[in-house]
Amino acid sequence: MVAVLPNQKIHLIQPRRVEYEALLEQEKQDSLTWGLKQLEIPKLWETTKGQEINVAVLDTGVYGAHSVLNDRVKEFIIIDPLGRRIKAEPAFDCGQHGTHVCGTIAGGQDFNGVAIGVAPQTNLFVAGVLIGDTSLRTLMEGISWAIEKGADIINMSLGLNYYEPRFAVVLDILLNQYGILPVVAIGNENHGNSSSPGNTYNAFSVGAIEKTGCDDVDVTFFSSGASLVFPGKEPNGLVIKPDVVAPGAQIYSCIPPIKHPKGTFEYNFMDGTSMATPHVAGVASLLMAAKPTAPVTDIIKVLKETAHHPDGKDLRPCNRWGHGLIQPDEALKALT
């Protein structure tokens, strides 16, 4: 006998209800999504809106004709499951994910004047790599296409099926041979887990925060975060993920128009580290536009160092907040 435990009652803990109507009203009043407001993006717009920076989005595609994207999509390609490049005109999205991500990076204002995009003058190069039963081969071809097109940043709001630490070789080439910043979602597998390629030691991975009561924020329940330990493999013997966090729940952005009994909808809210990642990609674009000579290693460094962790700088990184919630304006000052 080890212990005797009382037969306790269990009770249902109900998740907090999100008041989308109230959130929409607030965003309308602010003329900004809560994510952009939280990150104080308008402060950076006084310096730049991301012009002449190329962000590649490897996703489900993009509905390029969306009014809020307003000619931001400079090129579009489909990569099929066999790794072939297929030109498609006009740009389309096989779901909603890619369009939503693109809106968060470079969208303008919706019809109520709500700004949805972090870097509304940034160029988007979109590769549909998540159309059909796609695999790493498709992703590799998408990355190659992005390199060829002159991408400065690659947004990867996606994950692999299982842990693959050797993806670090790919990220190393992007960072050190081409000077490209890959921004990768850490995954939605909850605390204590993480997904590849975000959990690779050299990935710049992003977790998600959400708005809580009293104008506060916290890491979402779904946002992944874990440490991987490899004794004797220093300097990468301890890999702590995520690297940073950004708004990733109740994110309002554009989608391809869908018909519904109540009307035609072209915007919605989505949750996921997929939605946090484009916030960081957009911020990186603003920083690169403001400081055109800054190498990507410096961009990553300032975003991590200036991030706000609720427990203070001494107790970071951790597996919930990573280095903390990015503070774009502080990062820009640190780059100067």
């Binding site: 779901g95 709001s157 099926n161 693959e164 080439i173 000077g179 009307g263 072209e266 949750d271």
Partner: protein
């Protein structure tokens, strides 16, 4: 079950190696072979210009083609199939090959890593709410 050379541990992840042990030596898998490419001569200290990017692409392509020529005999020996004519701009080439062949590729000095051509998935949870309607 095939045995895996411990020297290959740095080139094949333990997870992929474990999956390979479930296959017979002659069974084929689809992999991405990451080739050894010439490292950049100097650290990138600023954003690349268009010309610098093109130069980096050219250097990597040439380097990867050389490495590919070195592994072509291995691919043939193990009844493999090269799934693309040339390496991509990351110095990788997709290959279908036997599990024995995977191990042989990993033993080559011109191979940096071999990874499984595994599925990729978008990372989002749900479409929580249809935000706003507009009559188009």
């Amino acid at each position: 079950m095939p045995e895996y050379n411990s020297n290959n541990r740095n080139k094949i992840s333990p997870e992929f190696a474990a999956r390979l042990t479930y296959l017979e030596p002659q069974q084929k898998v689809r992999v991405i072979v990451l080739l050894q490419v010439q490292p950049s001569k100097k650290a990138i200290e600023k954003r690349q210009s268009r010309a610098e990017r093109q130069a980096a692409i050219k250097a990597l392509r040439e380097s990867a083609e050389e490495a590919l020529a070195d592994i072509s005999p291995i691919i043939q020996r193990f009844n493999g199939l090269q799934l693309a004519e040339h390496p991509d701009l990351l110095g990788s080439i997709p290959v279908e090959i036997t599990t024995e062949g995977v191990n042989a590729l990993a033993e080559s000095d011109v191979v940096k890593a071999v990874i499984e051509d595994q599925a990729i998935l978008p990372g989002y949870l749900n479409n929580a709410y249809l935000g706003m309607s507009k009559n188009l």
